[in-house]
């Protein structure tokens, strides 16, 4: 694989994270190309979600560096990471459950919002104009993910699949350059997975790279352009789905067990 310095969207080098005596991440190095869908796979406990948490600033890594679009990413500062253009969804859905569907997406616009608190208190013209723009953009995003008619409902009354779509819309509202999806297809049937796959491809086509964690290997292999494999907190393989599937290390660590 040829590595050109500036051609990567994200470069993680030697990321380590310990919890007490447990080494959750043991020097993870991986690189993501722009305009691609990358699958992050690996056995349970391999460190996939921990890596997501480091990437999005929830955890501060003990060692290593993250470069995003060639610039160091602020570590342990979720709202600054969001501002830099990384958004995510969660394995266990974490919507603002008591807020409306539309409001959930509108919160996602917060990072691209200028009007300050004083504007909100005194309802200046600029604030009202911005609020209209936020509302319009939120409606567009709900249409984009296919739940445009559900805007006024309370988030936790949506069906499970629609809640996952709402999480994606909320993440897209931050105008990310990289969208990180933590098991987006968990609990979905085959038809729902296919539709979700279409949505993810469309997101890539529209210019946002996608990094996703998923356990359904078959689905990941046909959806993703690139695959990175984590095992015991290390990245053991990286490449196209074909290359990874045939990598002996991967077969030994992961695919060898009942995933042919």
């Amino acid at each position: 694989m040829v590595r050109g310095q500036a051609s990567f969207l994200l470069e993680a080098a030697g990321i380590g994270k310990r919890f007490g005596g447990l080494r959750a991440l043991n020097g993870v190095s991986l690189a993501l190309q722009p305009d691609t869908i990358t699958g992050l796979i690996g056995p349970n406990g391999a460190g996939k979600t921990t890596f997501f948490n480091v990437l999005t600033g929830i955890y501060r890594p003990d060692e290593g560096t993250l470069l995003f679009e060639g610039q160091p990413l602020p570590m342990g500062q979720p709202h600054e990471v969001a501002a830099r253009g990384i958004a995510r969804t969660f394995q266990n859905i974490r919507l603002f459950a008591n807020m409306s569907v539309l409001e959930n997406v509108m919160v996602g616009r917060h990072v691209r919002t200028r009007a300050g608190v004083l504007g909100a208190l005194f309802q200046t013209g600029a604030t009202r104009h911005e609020e209209d723009t936020i509302l319009t953009r939120a409606r567009e995003l709900l249409d984009y993910v296919g739940i445009g008619t559900q805007g006024e409902r309370i988030a936790n009354t949506l069906s499970y699949g629609d809640q996952r779509r709402l999480e994606i819309a909320r993440a897209l509202a931050t105008d990310p350059r990289l969208l990180a999806l933590d098991e987006p297809a968990a609990g979905m049937n085959a038809a729902e997975r296919a539709r979700l796959g279409d949505l993810i491809r469309r997101i890539r086509t529209d210019g946002t790279a996608v990094l996703l964690i998923e356990h359904d290997v078959k689905w990941v292999m046909q959806l993703c352009d690139r695959i990175s494999v984590l095992d015991y907190g290390e990245c053991i393989a990286e490449g196209t789905p074909q290359a990874v599937q045939n990598d002996p290390k991967v077969i030994e660590a992961y695919l060898g067990v009942g995933a042919t």
Binding site: A82, R88, N98, R112, L121, T127, A173
Partner: protein, 307 residues
Amino acid sequence: MDTFLQQLINGITLGSIYALVALGYTMVYGILELINFAHGEVLMVGALVALTVIQGLTGWGWPAPLAVLVAVLAAMVVCMTLGLAIERVAYRPLRRAPKLAPLITAIGLSIVLQQVAALIWGRGYLSFPAVLPPVSVVWGGVIITAIQGAIIVLAALIMAGLLVLVQKTALGRAMRATAQNPAVAQLMGVNTDRIIAWTFVIGSGLAAVAGVMVAAYYGVGNYTMGFMLGLKAFTAAVLGGIGNLAGAMLGGLLLGVVEALGAGYIGDLTGDFFGSNYKDVFAFMVLIGVLVFHPNGLLGSRAREKV
């Protein structure tokens, strides 16, 4: 019947003040799950600052209405700054500490604020100048004084404004998102530290207004005035369902009315064995009753799922 209606008006007046203070407790609790026991002291500082400003300005010959307006604004500015400082100095460093630590700090802070106020304003009862002429409307045998009318109308306006702020603006949306899930709100680019600071500032502003109201209503201010009022407003917040804005408003009004009716009827009910000075007992009996039968308060939902 006249007694009933009269006590109802008195209760709504008192309840409006409780509601304003209860909102401060409930907003902070909603976001931090912290009971800010120093909130009553913020109210006291607001009342005493206003008292000093009014005395000073009227002493220089300012017209009373203008002096009152300036005094309220001064009290709000001082209290908002105080609220901001309290959050920054006493609570933010303990954000990740066990829940009991900030609670103890809050109680400690409350004592410190009382003692500092005692040094500045003394330990005596200070008479609050009459800010409105002692006129009143008599309506079907019920007397509504000017100050009662002003308190009820002003409190209603402020509460309506707060609801609009929280439900309809980007700041309010960020506050609700932070209350529901601070970690996720941060990932959406919400600077939760700033939102928390604004919550304290807004709550302290409400407390300042409530402080001026209560001092003007009873015509007296004292360095301990925040203690019982804070406790009752906290009761009101729990009564309505702590963390719930509408609950704090409802709880405040209900508590005020129950207390006033209790004071009005307790003599008759007990053959004059208990007098109206037992009215506080009613407030806390209501609290115990609600907590026994409806532990989450009148409008409180079941405990939120936390990350």
